[in-house]
Each structure stands twice: as C-alpha cells, then as structure tokens.
Assembly symmetry: C2
Homo-oligomer: 165 residues x 2
Amino acid sequence: MQNTVPARRVEERMKHFQARASELGLAATHQRRIIYRVIAKSAEHPSPELIYERVKREIPTISLATVYKNIKTFAAMGLVGEVGALPGSIRVDANLDRHHHLVCVNCKAVVDFCDSRLDRVRAARANPENFRILRYQVEALGLCPACQVAPARNKVRTQRRKHNG
Amino acid sequence: MQNTVPARRVEERMKHFQARASELGLAATHQRRIIYRVIAKSAEHPSPELIYERVKREIPTISLATVYKNIKTFAAMGLVGEVGALPGSIRVDANLDRHHHLVCVNCKAVVDFCDSRLDRVRAARANPENFRILRYQVEALGLCPACQVAPARNKVRTQRRKHNG
DNA sequence: TGACAAACGATAATATTTATCGTTTAATAG
DNA sequence: CTATTAAACGATAAATATTATCGTTTGTCA
C-alpha cells in the first residue's frame, strides 16, 4: 500500500501543528513534534504501537504512555482523526438485512439505520488502490437525543465506557 | 434507545439459527441457543460483556470464554455481523480533508478514498431516532490487492493482528 | 457400554489502553 | 539569572478486552 505522503504536505502539516499548538498554549515539545511527524508522514492509518516503534527510532527513551497520551491530545485538538467512530469493543448485530448505522460521537451508541438512498451509494470512479469492493456501508455520525440535551458530557473522554446501546 | 425486537422476528431468527447450525453440523447446544437468542432479541449492538451478563441470568455457570467463542463462531457462520470492519486497536489519520475509507475485510488494511460522489451522500429521510447527524462517512469494504491473490488467507481469523497499514 | 469428538468452564496468557506517581523540563515572575 | 510552578515525561501498575490452553463434561454412534 502507498504510504508516502509528499514531503511538501508533511511540512504543511507540521506548520499547522505548530500554529495550533501555540494557539492552544500547548507546548510543542520534542516528543510531540516527532510523534506528530510520524503520523503526518504515514498514509497507512498507524496504530499506537506502530507509531511508538517509529518514534523510538528517533527517541529511544520515549514511553508508550507518552505516545498514547499525545495521540489523545492531538485528537482532542483536532489535529488528527481516529479512523472509525466505533467503541473499542466488539459489537454484534443479528440484523443481516442491508442497513447502515447511526453512531453517537459522544456516547458511542449505535443504532441501525435503514435508508434506501444510502443502499444505493456507489463510488463515482474506480478506486486507485485496486480494491475489489464488495459493499458500501454508511455511518451517519452525530449526536443521539440524550447527548444533544447534555452538551456538557460532549467533551473528550479518556475513560472507557461499556456496552452502551 | 429502542431495544425491542418483535417476538415474531426473534422466532424467525431462532429458526434460521437452528437451520444453519444443522446445515453446518454444528451442535445447537443449550448455551448456544441462549447466547444466540440474547443477540437476536437486542437491537442495541451488544458487546460480549453485555451478552455475557444477560446469558448468565439464564445459565449462571456459563463462562465468558464460551460467549466469546460462540460469538466468533456465529460470525464465521454468517449468523451475526460485527459492527464496523476495523481492527481492534486505534488507527490514527492525519488527513483532515473530507474523505472515506477502503477497508480490506481480510487483513483490515485501511486506505483513504476520496470520491466526490461519496462526499454528497445524504439520507433520503429523517432518521427515526432523532439523531442530529453531523456528517456521513462511507466505508467501502472489500479485498485489497494482496488479499485478492491470496484467497487462502481469506478465512476467519481469531488471532489479533498488529498495525498492518 | 466404550470410544470419540465437540463443546464447555476455569483460568492463564496476551493485547490494548488508561491511571498513578515521581522526576524532568520549560515557561515565567521576580 | 534564579526560584517557582505547571506541564510534560517515563516507568510502571492497573484496568480492560480478547484469545489460548487444558482438563472435564456431554452427546453421538459403533
């Protein structure tokens, strides 16, 4: 898979990182710069473990906890996204009919969502990676009714939450 | 959130379960029937832990491992789906532009996928759960080039795999 | 009944993520 | 320039999530 982000774009992202950090009064430490650069350079959606491996090549003494903490910090700053909106644990679905999902970005609730127009989603062009696409699945990300009325809860959550519908 | 699957549909699913199990020569044990029924009854995409809690009310001696094993078995049989195609660990993305993802259902590789038609996806109707939808994200599920040519690897995998692009 | 395989339950092991806490670093006031 | 202070770091324990191991039970069939 292609994992080469053009150097020019990496530098753009580094600039954005610096700007955003100073905006928020967040120290742009050596560790943070390296961690962010590793993420900015990879187009492969790396896991924390992989990021840790690569950062260690430049800062051998770095702690895995620092990597995790800063990934979360970057996500809260809006500097990186997390792929997929779903919670950390398996969720099972007995509904085998074609359907999509409403996902609450706050509490991670998942609700089935049947919609004929979403069933007809297709890409406009062949994908450049030569995947053989079997099906499309749409996630509608938003706020469930409970989280709409409790906006205070709608902030960054580090704690794990269990099986919440 | 609504978590009541009509009794009629639950019974349909139980019939399907029995049929599929005998088709595959899989014993429809008491444990399996109860586990599957718990899943079939809930529209809330339960986690293994939650399924375990509920099954325990009927079979207090059941083991969590049995629940996990059978969830995996049911998934391999095509009796239940797992919500979301992504791997167990966090994946980070420095690309903040609007984009979608190609996901390999075999090796879980994730690749960014920009497509203008997917950007315009909208539901046809208001969603019945009154979510406030903020954005739509499309996952195109399929096989990456490597997994197309290595179909032998394309079977159920129980083992965890690490950071594979 | 006896042999066999499938399934189960207990539990250890592994993987993933977060929390705790003492130390270091960096920014700033004096 | 030094003292103060808060932020950040590193080490590590703890919590959570998932899978593997293994001995026992159960059901099937010769």
